[in-house]
């Protein structure tokens, strides 16, 4: 851990679980389907779940132009984006040492509204983040749809990754207890695609979905 890490990002608890490497932040952003965005209006904190994408060292958020989150983000006010991947429940011999295995990133930045080609690239990035290959297959945005959407790029000014992996860590004397200990893995998995019973339900499953079937 470097002494150049600003106070708001520096992990105070169990700092050996921390990383400030952009590659670690990017990997967590790229794997997570959604993020949670925190912002403040008056004295009230808000936290909103939303889908996202990463373009370089920016996080892309998008949604309806009227969205409270996006209108606020466009002002350049401070934002915090949390991205959390859960890997396992850690079952120690003592209640105290129970934990989760996880990978998380907390990002501090500010937003800017994208326009024109950059806005279209942001929309494409969000679509491709959720399902690579989809953008070129589905009907693209009409001019009206494009104009009804806001796309924000949030700079990753500072970020902290925190993670835990591996078996439980118990007190030395507790290893002798006859308590089952170990990991209960937790996975987020895609199920098989379910075709819309609407018209044209006979369209073949596209190649980019076949891995999920």
């Amino acid at each position: 851990m470097s002494s150049t890490i600003p106070d708001r990002s520096r992990l105070k608890r169990i700092p050996d679980r921390a990383s400030y490497e952009p590659a670690d932040v990017h990997a967590i952003l790229d794997e997570a389907p959604i993020c949670h965005v925190g912002f403040q209006v008056g004295s009230q904190p808000f936290v909103i779940p939303t889908i996202h994408a990463r373009m370089g060292n920016e996080v892309i958020l998008h949604g309806a132009k009227a969205s409270r989150l996006l209108k606020h983000a466009a002002t350049g006010a401070p934002l915090t984006i949390a991205v959390t991947l859960l890997d396992a429940l850690v079952l120690a011999r003592s209640v105290f040492h129970h934990s989760m295995n996880y990978r998380s990133a907390v990002i501090f930045g500010t937003g800017r509204l994208l326009e024109g080609d950059e806005k279209m690239e942001g929309m494409r990035a969000v679509s491709e983040h959720l399902l690579a290959g989809r953008w070129d297959d589905a009907r693209g945005p009409s001019k009206k749809e494009f104009n009804a959407t806001s796309v924000i790029a949030v700079s990753i000014d500072e970020a902290t990754c925190k993670s835990r992996s591996g078996p439980p860590g118990d007190e030395e004397e507790d290893y002798a207890l006859p308590v089952w200990a170990g990991l209960l893995p937790l996975q987020q998995v895609w199920g098989p695609p379910e075709a819309d019973p609407g018209r044209h339900a006979d369209v073949d499953l596209p190649d980019y979905l076949k891995d999920h079937a």
Copy 2:
């Protein structure tokens, strides 16, 4: 939607996806393994992922006494807790109508520090939330461990649930497009338990874990 819903909780976008019923808020809290807590320090919003439990109409948070989140929550400052369950990726015929199926709750409240028996009940609730049956099996907290832990109860002063379910909703003219459309289900599933290779690894799997095996 009732006109008595305060402005910070009232959904402005697609209000028919909203619920303000305590039973809906409780069900989402009870199912989600973790939540994201938002709070503000100075001009900086923070968002921290953490495990939780529900006791009545309060959300229980716990952790090390030194934790920034818990020290802040104990002051009674405004908190926002977001809980999000993802159910499916919604693949519409147009990019614009892509969405997620999800169930989410955003809760506004304030925290109070628990002490004594109430604190122990909070610790038990968090343990049982993660894995029912575990509390009575694992070694309970020593006096030192109990004292090193903070437990906070956050009142659910206001809450909004938002959800989406069902197939994609496309523009009428897009149903004729030869684009595969439907749902890609997303599930968070427990894998089989993995015993700690430490000592006493021969302890039988307890009954409350057999459903996961």
